[in-house]
């Protein structure tokens, strides 16, 4: 396994574990009705977001150091054209995924906002009221989720190309 492939696996591991826990907790919290009308919702999840971001950075630094220590120097320094080409190709795929995810998110928010407005805030369901009162927090998290999912698509594509592609 080349240095680049090990590095991508490390990035996948950090992304899935650290951000996966954050978004599982957030979605579980919202779907279970928690935080629907909480005044401190934005502050609480803003704090958890920053904690998660710091955890992801620290985990990435540690794993990158371990991968570096386990790889010979010559292999680390190789500037491989095949790996570079696969990286660019994967990032292009990830970019398309990001566009689709952001477009879908925009559509969802637009539809939810329209529904909420049509029904009136008092008459809306609790889920729609959540979108109304904490819409910016949820929208921001949706954008972050879209970026992270797009990164995972790019990582997956790169790993596929490195292992099997041409």
């Amino acid at each position: 396994m080349s240095y680049r492939e090990k590095s991508v696996w490390a990035e996948v591991l950090v992304t899935v574990l650290v951000w996966g826990v954050y978004f599982l907790n957030l979605s579980g919290h919202v779907l279970n009705g928690g935080g629907l009308e909480e005044p401190g919702f934005a502050g609480a999840w803003g704090g958890r977001f920053v904690e998660t971001l710091i955890a992801a950075i620290i985990a990435q630094i540690i794993l990158t150091s371990i991968v570096g220590a386990l790889t010979p120097k010559a292999e680390r320094q190789a500037r491989d054209e095949r790996e570079r080409a696969y990286r660019w190709r994967s990032q292009a795929v990830g970019f398309h995924a990001l566009i689709i995810l952001l477009f879908s998110l925009g559509f969802f928010l637009f539809a939810a906002g329209g529904l909420t407005g049509a029904m009136g805030q008092e008459g809306g369901t609790p889920a729609l009221q959540t979108l109304t009162s904490n819409s910016l927090v949820l929208a921001a998290n949706g954008v972050v989720a879209a970026v992270i999912l797009a990164e995972l698509v790019a990582f997956s594509m790169e790993l596929f190309l490195l292992r099997r592609g041409r």
Binding site: E75, R79, D80, E81
Partner: protein
């Protein structure tokens, strides 16, 4: 993913004749990874023109003796 590129090569054979040079040694000589050399030998990756010239230079032969068009 995709068809094999219509380019064949004699890298494995040339390595053998170059004192049984390993894939790792060739990779280090041209600044690539061993995995890419393996991918070339299995005809799963066609190198850039620059890399092809570097490989030919390592073996001290013309580029046409390393890579052949089979299209």
């Amino acid at each position: 993913m995709g068809k094999a590129p219509p380019i064949e090569n004699r890298i494995r054979e040339l390595r053998f004749h170059a004192g049984e040079m390993t894939q790792q040694q060739l990779a280090e000589a041209i600044g690539m990874t061993r995995q890419t050399i393996a991918a070339m030998e299995q005809n799963r990756y066609s190198p850039s023109l620059e890399a092809a010239f570097r490989i030919a230079q390592v073996f001290g032969v013309e580029i046409g003796e390393v890579f052949q068009w089979k299209g």
